[in-house]
């Protein structure tokens, strides 16, 4: 291989690297090694819509092996779960843990890069403080995976990251290996308020939409520049080695982190997550997605999602919703308890309970319980085995990790919660939480010291 050929190969690598690096800031997460576990005689909600009574769950090498009755014990440690319930580990698609850490003081205020309405180049993971005490309280609520998003001050706030809820000194050691990143966008009042108060665009909803469109138009141009460059590289490489003039070697365009993210959205490499409350604005965002050829994974908050439940289902867009938040601003004024149930109702409806809150993430099961109960009272047939999907498999789908977590199907990562009772209750608490088959939380044997370095040695902190 001549040096020129080598140069060409290297260049091709750089073109690739510039537009879609394999994984910069790579995950260093490793599953804890774990002995096989057989959970016996539980009521199992497996996340696919099935309920199995008196069932066993076998976990080996960090994976779900089987869910069934009277499974052979083999060399597994047995957990007697009679009277208890088992679900997949819970997944929160909308958290700001680590980026708006506790305590919520100036130094931990890292969730909104509110200096420009389009900050698509920022990555929430670079704000994550792994010592946020909120990770441990979320784990005590059964949360094993969560997406950390930038805030909603900006039209396009930046990239989100999906984390495993394990103690770590670096966020990379929590990063879900291979999970796609998210792209956070925001509709409505927040961006126009934040920038409008500064007499800066956007100050109106039409300003919001112009802002997204210009950003994506710039991204299209950027994409064309790279496509052109790739064509030039291909043409250059087609030349015989003796005809190549190194001085004419095509020079790649300068990387633009902001536009790179938007191109990644248009190429389907990141999951687009849109903060949007009003039904009419969600419809505008669906049109925007069509104009610029990207797919919206989920509308977050979607207090009015119930008004367009059929359309969301048809377009395969999830609604990541609260059970009962409403009315704190006008775009949240039409909140109803039945929102999740109505979004869930159509064929292919994809309802998700999200938290957006360090308090709510501790009780996703209760949020689902509230919404399930109100849906039932509105005559919708929503048994627990259906509602559990709102905090497990549907959430996994919106994050692009449904093949790996979110259900108890064989081969899935063994993220498992053993509840002290029916989880659709205010009195329910996780007894045991497994992450990749390793015991991550045991309510009856709490750690002697807090998980967070920050809490260590603080007066009054018992955990």
């Amino acid at each position: 291989m001549s040096w020129k050929q080598l140069g060409g190969a290297t260049l091709a690598f750089f073109v690739l690297a510039a537009q879609a690096s394999p994984e910069p800031y790579p995950s260093t997460y490793h599953a804890q090694s774990s002995a096989p576990v057989l959970i016996r005689n539980a009521t199992v909600l497996d996340g696919t819509g099935r309920r199995l009574d008196g069932a066993d769950v076998l976990i080996r090498d960090g994976k779900i092996v089987e869910v069934g009755t009277a499974l052979p014990q083999g060399d597994a440690t047995t957990i007697d779960a009679k009277g208890r319930w088992v679900t997949p580990g819970l997944i929160d698609v909308h958290s700001h843990l680590g980026v708006y850490a506790s305590p919520g003081i100036n130094a931990t205020d890292d969730g909104n890069e509110a200096t420009d309405p389009v900050t698509a180049g920022v990555w929430a993971e670079h704000s994550v403080w792994p010592q946020d005490p909120g990770f441990a309280t979320a784990l005590a609520g059964g949360v094993t995976t969560m997406q950390i998003l930038p805030g909603s001050a900006n039209l396009i706030g930046g990239r989100g990251v999906t984390l495993r809820n394990v103690p770590a000194t670096t966020y990379q050691a929590m990063k879900f290996p291979g999970a796609p990143q998210g792209l956070k966008m925001a509709c409505g009042e927040n961006p126009k308020r934040v920038y409008g108060e500064r007499k800066q665009a956007p100050s109106t909803r039409m300003g919001n939409v112009a802002g997204y469109r210009q950003a994506f138009a710039d991204a299209e141009d950027y994409q064309h520049q790279w496509q052109k460059h790739e064509a030039e590289v291909a043409a250059y490489e087609k030349k015989k080695a003796k005809d190549r003039d190194p001085a004419e070697q095509p020079v790649p365009p300068k990387r633009d982190l902001r536009l790179e993210t938007l191109v990644a959205a248009m190429q389907g490499e990141v999951q687009v997550q849109v903060h949007c409350y009003r039904a009419d604005e969600m419809a505008v965002m669906l049109d925007l997605a069509q104009e610029f050829h990207f797919k919206i994974a989920a509308f977050h908050h979607g207090v009015e999602a119930y008004k367009i439940a059929d359309r969301l289902a048809q377009e395969g867009v999830c609604g990541a919703l609260w059970a009962d938040w409403w009315g704190f601003k006008l775009e949240a004024y039409d909140g109803i308890w039945e929102n999740l149930a109505y979004v869930d109702a159509p064929k292919d409806g994809c309802a998700i309970v999200h938290s957006d809150s360090d308090e709510g993430i501790q009780r996703l099961n209760q949020e689902a319980a509230k919404a399930m109960s109100r849906g039932q009272r509105a005559d919708l047939d929503i048994p627990p085995e259906r509602a559990i999907r709102w905090i497990t498999s549907n959430a996994a789908k919106a994050l692009g990790i449904a093949g790996r977590v979110g259900t108890l199907e064989p081969g899935k990562m063994a993220d498992v919660v053993v509840w002290n009772r029916d989880p659709f209750s205010v009195y329910a608490l996780p007894d045991l939480v497994y992450i990749d088959g390793a015991l991550a939380f045991d309510r009856n044997h709490p750690p002697a010291t807090p998980r967070s370095d920050f809490l260590l040695g603080q007066p009054g902190v018992a955990r």
């Binding site: 506790s102 919520g104 009962d324 149930a341 209760q366 109960s373 919708l380």
Partner: protein, 433 residues
Amino acid sequence: MKRLRIVALLQLFLVTLGLAAPAHSQDVLIRNARVHTLTAQGTLERADVLVRGGRVVEVGSGLAAAGAHVIEANGRPLTPGLFGGITGLGVVEIELESSTVDRSALVGSGASGPGFVPRPEFDVTPAFNADAAVIGVNRAEGITFAMIAPSASGTLFAGQGAVARLDGSDSPFIAASRTQFLDMGPSATDGIGFSRGAQFMLLEQATREALPGKPLQAGDVRLLTPTGREVFARYLAGGRMAFAVDRAVDIRQVLEFAARHGVKPVIVGGAQASQVASLLARSKVPVVLEPLLALPGTFDQLGASMENAAQLQRAGVPILFTHFSAGTNQAHKVRQGAGVAVAHGLPWDAALAALTSTPADVFGLGAEAGRIMPGSPADLVLWSSDPLEVTSVAEQVWIGGKAQSMRSRQTELRDRYRPTGLTSGPVAPTPRE
């Protein structure tokens, strides 16, 4: 179907009584309820409650009353109406729209300007809108009374509030419940550049100004307006002051101030209250707490724990619940908080008391209020099931014996957008990436 029959009965009841009968409600007989009396009688199974003239007149079994509207409870729980906590109900419609918010005397930069004058005379109650949609939503969730409080983060003297019954009447406030609110701790520091020491300095200065027998001299720097002095003096003469503080050290300081001046303090927040539980119990000082607080939102809340409610109750401290984090429109979330406190060790009866009889006692609503006993105001809720359970709902609310409408903006929207097919779609096969 049993349930359908009950619903039909309730609807009939609403049509004939709730909508048609104005001032003087007819007698109501609620039969066969699981009655949580919040008295020494405890919980009565299959008991009847007779309501006459807006009050409970009899609790027992086999009651009869000619002409009374009979509600068949079929064993469902009946509780006193719930306390919604420290709220802006009726003075805040939409938190982020300042044109709908009436909780402060100092809008805009007033709290931090150089000419800042504390206004303990500010009274939030004249702005109270009993018809607000947000009240309808919360009432339908079983909230029948709440402290309507000023909120003036950063001004130390937030002003006066009182407990309202949420019956839509034009005289909803209970005079004995009037309370002066003081916002201390870190938010006050942010607002005016105060240190905590400065907060106590100003509090003492205002006290000295207001106390009789210490007349001001010409040329004295005055903190309060003449009306402010007059109003503040009333609270110093054995009145009730609610102090928003979290730290144990600040709670101690507040208790010392209260003891010095004969004030009845109420602690609001109290994330570290369990660290001074025995002191609070000895002084019989109640704590209004957020039962869902498990994380230190500030340095003042280090050590925040889900066991706070249970620990305080065990120590003998009167506890009440409020829901700080989601604002006024979700005041009803206190009920979930109470259930969560039970999951974390608080006895069930104590949790219900924290939503009913304890707030009635702490805010001077009368010995029968917040209870179901002869003489109690007939502020009642009939629940579908366990009143602290998140899957339960309020099926009927009465205030002063009057059945309240169970419809709200939310139920209107629910019904307008009800899905056409009544069963949920098939579960799709698990999607792969």
